[in-house]
């Protein structure tokens, strides 16, 4: 029952919506769906931290299993998250999002190479009196 994250090559090479990873300057509660393009955040559901593969359950101690069940990264800043475009194409995607400024970074498909963590601009920049 282990995750088959290594079998990414098995995913068909589908023609994707031509999109460019957006800079933080252009996102406005929009999420760049790799299949549909920029869509309103309200069309998506949140799916917690990305990149946590389903482990081999029987290889884990109770403590390790409990950690897998309940513990997720909760950084102040950029976090790679899973989202699903439930009111659009119905597909899951991964997305960089800043938990402090709520800025949306680049999106990428599961089992594809993760883009670099965006550089966080200072939200209060230029706000000195």
């Amino acid at each position: 029952l282990q995750s088959q994250a290594s079998s990414a090559t098995e995913i068909e090479n589908r023609e994707l919506f031509p999109y460019q990873p957006l800079t933080t300057d252009h996102s406005m509660l929009y999420i760049p769906c790799p299949h549909c393009g920029l869509r309103n955040e309200t069309e998506f559901h949140y799916g917690a931290q990305a990149g946590v593969a389903y482990p081999d359950p029987n290889a884990l101690t109770d403590t390790e299993w409990a950690k897998y069940l309940h513990i997720r990264a909760n950084p102040k800043g950029w976090l790679a998250e899973r989202w699903v475009h439930f009111a659009g194409c119905g597909r899951w995607l991964n997305l960089w999002r800043n938990t402090v400024t709520h800025e949306i970074g680049p999106a990428y498909l599961p089992f594809t190479k993760q883009p670099k963590m965006p550089v966080a601009p200072d939200r209060q920049e230029g706000s000195k009196a």
Binding site: L29, D62, W65, E103, P110, S127, A129
Partner: protein, 900 residues
């Protein structure tokens, strides 16, 4: 402007179309508009717009909206309003007005059509951008309008530019992350009776902008002194504007108290309007600037280091005289006045900026909190950014020192009747944080959300903490910081947010293809999620319990029929479909032969039951899964999540077919007999077509798939047919079923029948903490394979004693149906040291069973499976019922009827 007449407190007033009601009332001499909420003191208009804390009215015409400031209502013919004491009432009539919403994407959004906003608009238009300019006033110009000045020609060009959309009467109510703004546009109230009936009263704008310029301007601030709430005491800018622009001629003698040059400008305007200005009392030691010179030249007496300490009223409660205090000698004197115009400095509107967490910064020079935020996408402009003009030099001063008696009537929040006394009490109680003080005193919590009182609170707190006017010692406003504001910036009707999504449009209504038949049969419906399902089918004169008993008896003794089309149905296909289902369900599906059905339970990874249903294998690689009515979307999303994010190599495709297939459940010992009359191409015998088998055939030439699935425990056949043919099949059965006494039944009977058999409803008999073991379903947990949730069953907390387990419950009194949700305690339970009695479980489903002629229930009871036979107590109101814990299956435990 045309003259209109409107009524206020049943008296007719004249006004000019689209002027504020406050101006018309003042012109007619109405100074006291209302009495205050808690202290019952007379109150009048003090401001010019949404900052107004006093002059609240309730409309008695049109929508009968409540709690509107008279300063923002534009008068129209036939408008009727009455005064309020700060407590509004929702109208009893439904709001028939139309509300709508729209979305807009623009290059630049400018909030505020004052000079700063117009200048910003010009700049962005020149850069070739499309501009949306919104402003809460009825026309552009901002401050210029208060001065009665025309827009300069250059600014008129901006307003009429082809790339600019200007929305008057449009208030930004919220600024959200990533340049998202929600605004409300008032579109028809100002037109009164001449408003087109199809025009939305309020339009909610959802605006996303590449760039935003915040140019909301500023509110003038009052000062704190004793009895600072009398009618006749106004903000100087408001007083001057009402006199100068709106022709209010009721004031004879005015006193101006100021901390900046604005007081001088307003004194001059009052002077020009014919008011005798007794004197300008300036808290500053000296003042200079064109306005000071002009006031001096006009012969208005000016006195520095003096301010107002107290006031007195005449018999009507309006202002009679003013006590002035010399700030150096503390000597006082009185002067008669019917207008006290206050200029306590400016408070820029920082609200929107704080919505997204921007922290305004205190500027001693401006005596105000400013927002200097400026980047490519969001910029503050105008007074918000500190552009106060040259002729201004405000002092950080909030009022004179007050003794305890004076502090009792020195108001900070006029709407809440909160005083300096209250503030001192809060500080005396140990509160120092401004947000705590707000909650303790309720300052800033009224409809105006502290637009005038917020800054006064900060000022009064500074004074209490030894802040000196030179700013050199004590607690300064910079240390306290502003309150953080939350949307909406102004109160808005819920109706505007609801828009057209009201009543039947508020949520989609889902109906089955048999719905019209149910309606014609007189069914009473219940909502199950978005579905309308027949609850029961009463015959004339029947109560619900009569109908349900009749329906139950028909299903157990004859034949009955139910519309089960709302069950979630997911078509699952692909070479890996069987492997996939093995992982999803706790029990095995790869071993299920084609043409057979199996009940399955699925858990989340934490081992908790998530949904259940029967899945039929239609082919080697083809399954039809059914889910609970409410769980269909959740389950499909769950399957997709695993397929897409963990097992993309599995070739499986899931499709919702809920609304493609209608399901008619034919239930009862005589169901086979009746079905034989319409089905000739399937052998319906017990031997050829056993329980949990599925067959395809035809009824009247229509392809059907029939499965021996039973949610009632009776012999039953579920007829699956294309959605559009269901009514034909149903009516055919109905016609042929007449001699059998065929009875239609609804969800209530379905519940009784399933509960008698101990069949659970996930979400009713579970509360999100039960494993299959807790539900006495260890038989459904496979030991041979891995599945989602299996590992969690090994966790100590799921194996511990004391877990709630599903059991039956038989009340001692056979007719007493225990209310669902009732708690269960041990017999003669004693309260603990806290006076609380610990429960040992609760009732999840409870009905009267005609089959066993008594009331019964299902319950979740701690270690319940080990406590069969124990008598427990069920406190219901003042009564304590007794009941015996029993097995959850009460009818046909051997399944003889089901398998017959």
């Amino acid at each position: 402007m045309s003259e209109v007449s409107f009524s206020f407190d049943d008296k007719i007033y004249k006004g000019l179309a689209s002027e504020p009601m406050a101006a018309a009332l003042l012109r007619a001499g109405l100074l006291s508009i209302t009495t205050s909420t808690y202290h019952a003191r007379p109150r009048g208009v003090i401001g010019l717009g949404v900052e107004e804390p006093n002059a609240l009215v309730q409309l008695v015409s049109g929508t009968q909206e409540s709690m509107l400031p008279a300063t923002v209502i534009e008068v129209t013919n036939g408008l009727a309003a009455r005064s309020l004491t700060g407590v509004g009432a929702l109208p009893e009539i439904p709001d028939e007005a139309r509300y709508d919403k729209t979305n807009r994407y623009v290059d630049t959004l400018i909030i505020g059509a004052g000079l700063a906003g117009l200048a910003a608009a010009d700049e962005h238009l020149r850069a070739g951008r499309e501009v949306l300019l919104i402003d809460d006033q009825s026309g552009p110009g901002g401050h210029l309008r208060h001065l009665g000045l025309e827009l300069p020609a250059s600014m008129k060009k901006v307003i009429t530019h082809g790339n600019l959309t200007y929305l008057p009467r449009c208030t930004a109510i919220g600024l959200y992350d990533q340049n998202y703004v929600v605004a409300i546009e008032r579109r028809s109230d100002h037109l009164g009776n001449s408003a087109p009936s199809n025009r939305a009263r309020i339009r909610v704008w959802h605006i996303r902008a590449e760039r935003i310029v915040l140019a909301p301007g500023a509110f003038q601030r009052p000062l704190i002194f004793a009895n600072n709430d009398r009618p006749g005491i106004m903000l100087s800018h408001a007083a001057a504007t009402y006199a100068d622009v709106h022709g209010v001629r009721i004031f004879k003698r005015a006193v101006v108290a100021t901390v900046d040059n604005q007081g001088y400008r307003d004194a001059l305007r009052l002077h020009v309007a014919g008011v005798q200005v007794q004197g300008i009392y300036d808290a500053r030691a000296t003042a200079k600037g064109p306005s000071v010179d002009a006031a001096s030249a006009a012969g208005i007496p000016i006195r520095f280091r003096a301010t107002v300490l107290d006031t007195a009223s005449n018999v009507e409660g309006t202002l009679h005289d003013v006590t002035i205090q010399d700030l150096d000698t503390t000597e006082t004197f009185q002067t008669a006045a019917d207008l006290l115009a206050i200029s306590g400095g400016w408070t820029p509107v920082v609200d929107l900026a704080t919505h997204i967490g921007i922290k305004p910064m205190w500027s001693e020079k401006h005596a105000a909190f400013l927002v200097a935020h400026s980047n490519e996408r969001l910029r503050a402009a105008g007074m918000l950014a500190g552009d106060f003009g040259d002729d201004d030099d405000p002092l950080v001063f909030f009022g004179p020192a007050l003794d305890p008696e004076q502090s009792r009537h020195a108001y900070i929040d006029l709407q809440r009747d909160s005083t300096v006394y209250d503030l001192r009490r809060a500080v005396g109680a140990g509160l120092s944080n401004i947000e705590h003080i707000k909650r303790y005193t309720t300052i800033g919590t009224a409809h105006d959300q502290g637009k005038t009182s917020g800054m006064l609170t900060i000022g009064a707190l500074c004074q209490l903490n030894g802040y000196t006017q030179d700013g050199k010692s004590g607690l300064s406003p910079a240390k306290i910081g502003t309150l953080s504001f939350r949307p909406p910036y102004v109160p808005i009707p819920f109706a505007a947010l609801a828009g057209r999504e009201r009543e039947f449009l508020s949520d989609p209504i889902r109906i089955t293809s048999l719905h019209q038949w149910h309606v014609e049969a007189g069914a009473i419906f219940e909502d199950v999620g978005q579905w309308k399902r027949p609850w029961y089918f009463p015959k004339p004169g029947e109560r619900v319990e009569d109908a349900v008993r009749r329906e139950c008896v028909a299903a157990r003794e004859g034949v009955a029929v139910m519309d089960a089309s709302t069950l979630g149905k997911i078509d699952i296909q692909g070479p890996d479909a069987a492997v996939f289902l093995d992982r999803i369900y706790t029990n095995m599906f790869s071993t299920l032969p084609e043409g057979q059905c199996r009940y399955g339970v699925m858990c989340k990874i934490d081992g908790i039951v998530f949904d259940d249903g029967v899945t039929t294998r239609l082919g080697k690689n083809h399954f039809l899964m059914t889910t609970t009515t409410g769980g269909a979307a959740r389950v499909l999303a769950w399957l997709e999540e695993w397929l897409q994010t963990e097992w993309p190599h599995l070739k499986v495709y899931c499709t919702s077919v809920t609304e493609h297939i209608s399901t008619i459940a034919l239930v009862g010992p005589r169901s086979r007999e009746l079905l034989r009359e319409v089905v000739t191409d399937i052998d319906l015998s017990k031997e050829a077509f056993p329980f949990m088998h599925s067959r395809t055939g035809t009824i009247n030439g229509i392809p059907v798939r029939i499965a021996r699935i039973s949610f009632s425990g009776e012999l039953a056949f579920e007829i699956n047919v294309a959605w559009a043919y269901a009514r034909h099949i149903w009516e055919l059965l109905w016609k042929l079923g007449r001699p059998y006494g065929l009875t239609a039944y609804g969800t209530e009977t379905m519940h009784v029948l399933r509960a008698e058999k101990g069949y659970i409803i996930v979400g009713q008999d579970t509360d999100g903490t039960q494993t299959p073991y807790d539900l006495n379903m260890s038989w459904i947990v496979s030991k041979k394979k891995e599945f989602i949730g299996k590992r969690s069953f090994q966790m100590p907390y799921l194996k511990a004693t004391g877990r709630s387990q599903l059991v039956g419950l038989l009340p001692e009194s056979v007719d007493e149906v225990i209310p669902e949700g009732a708690y269960i305690t041990v017999l003669n339970a004693q309260p603990d040291e806290h006076g609380k009695t610990q429960h040992t479980g609760w009732v999840t489903s409870s009905y009267y069973s005609p089959a066993i002629s008594r009331a019964f229930a299902l319950a979740l009871v701690a270690d319940g499976l080990k406590r069969i036979g124990e008598v427990v107590a069920v406190p219901v109101g003042k009564k304590v019922l007794r009941a015996t814990i029993c097995d959850s299956v009460l009818v046909d435990k051997e399944n003889i009827r089901r398998d017959s």
